[in-house]
């Protein structure tokens, strides 16, 4: 296997690769727990693990600022929202057998597997053993963040505006939907 041998090739940063492997394994297990768990709260907590793992992967990819945002927004805010959602909809806090569709796996499993096979084939076929080159220096630290903010407010200012509208609409929409009148 080309792919497998490439992982252990000499020019690969072994420490990072091992770190990646551990975090990725944790993420996959946690993600499976999100979709398989019989306990809503456990699922939510597993989601936290996935999010945290993703943040760690972002760090490996030298995307410091995104990682911090991920922790703040997802683990800080979104997860609290989810837990509130669980609480307010009075889900059973223990095991709940009524979380899945009857025979849902009959439909979900083939589709998910088919999708995975197709994607994996395409990825391995096209990227072979391409390396992420360079040390990632210059991508970390204050100067990188300045570059990032320059990008947001110049080249990508238009999507930024659009995003502001989306957020505004979401705030108003959420209030309108959820208020009791």
């Amino acid at each position: 296997m080309q792919f497998a041998s490439a992982i252990f090739a000499a020019d690969v940063e072994v420490a990072q690769t091992i770190g990646f492997g551990i975090i990725a394994a944790v993420m996959i297990v946690a993600a499976l727990n999100v979709v398989l768990s019989k306990n809503v709260v456990h699922a939510a907590l597993s989601l936290v693990a996935v999010m945290a793992g993703a943040a760690a992967q972002y760090l490996l990819l030298a995307a410091e600022f995104v990682a911090v945002t991920q922790v703040l927004v997802y683990i800080g805010a979104v997860m609290v929202l989810f837990l509130f959602g669980v609480m307010l909809t009075r889900a059973k806090l223990g095991k709940d057998t009524d979380l899945n569709n009857d025979k849902g796996w009959l439909l979900g499993l083939p589709i998910a597997l088919l999708l995975l096979v197709v994607m994996a084939y395409v990825l391995i076929d096209s990227f072979q053993d391409d390396q992420i080159s360079g040390s990632g220096e210059g991508r970390i630290g204050a100067s990188a963040n300045i570059l990032l903010s320059d990008r947001i407010f110049s080249t990508y200012a238009l999507p930024f505006w659009a995003l502001s509208f989306v957020l505004l609409a979401a705030v108003i929409g959420a209030i309108v939907l959820a208020r009791k009148d």
Binding site: Q16, G85, D98, N100, L109, R139, G173
Partner: protein, 99 residues
Amino acid sequence: MLINMFLLLGAILFCIGVYGVIARKNAVLVLMSIELILNSVNINLLAFDRLNGGNDGAVFALYIIAVAAAEVGVGLAMVLLIFRNRKTISLDDLSEMKG
């Protein structure tokens, strides 16, 4: 590091999320599965960003995080509204769109 490690991790998370969307009945859990999908996309974006240099991918990853936050806010508000009106958030019972 191989770029494919990250891309495959993204693909796996994506497919797990897809499975969750299809197999789960509880609306909150479906929303969580959608979050998995969004996160896997972010991993891909940042991997490509690192591969190509520059920081365009990071910008869009940030945007996706913001959109996801908005989506969860509205989604949970809808779930709450549905719960208030029907005392259930089981997607089975919401089949008014039946063709």
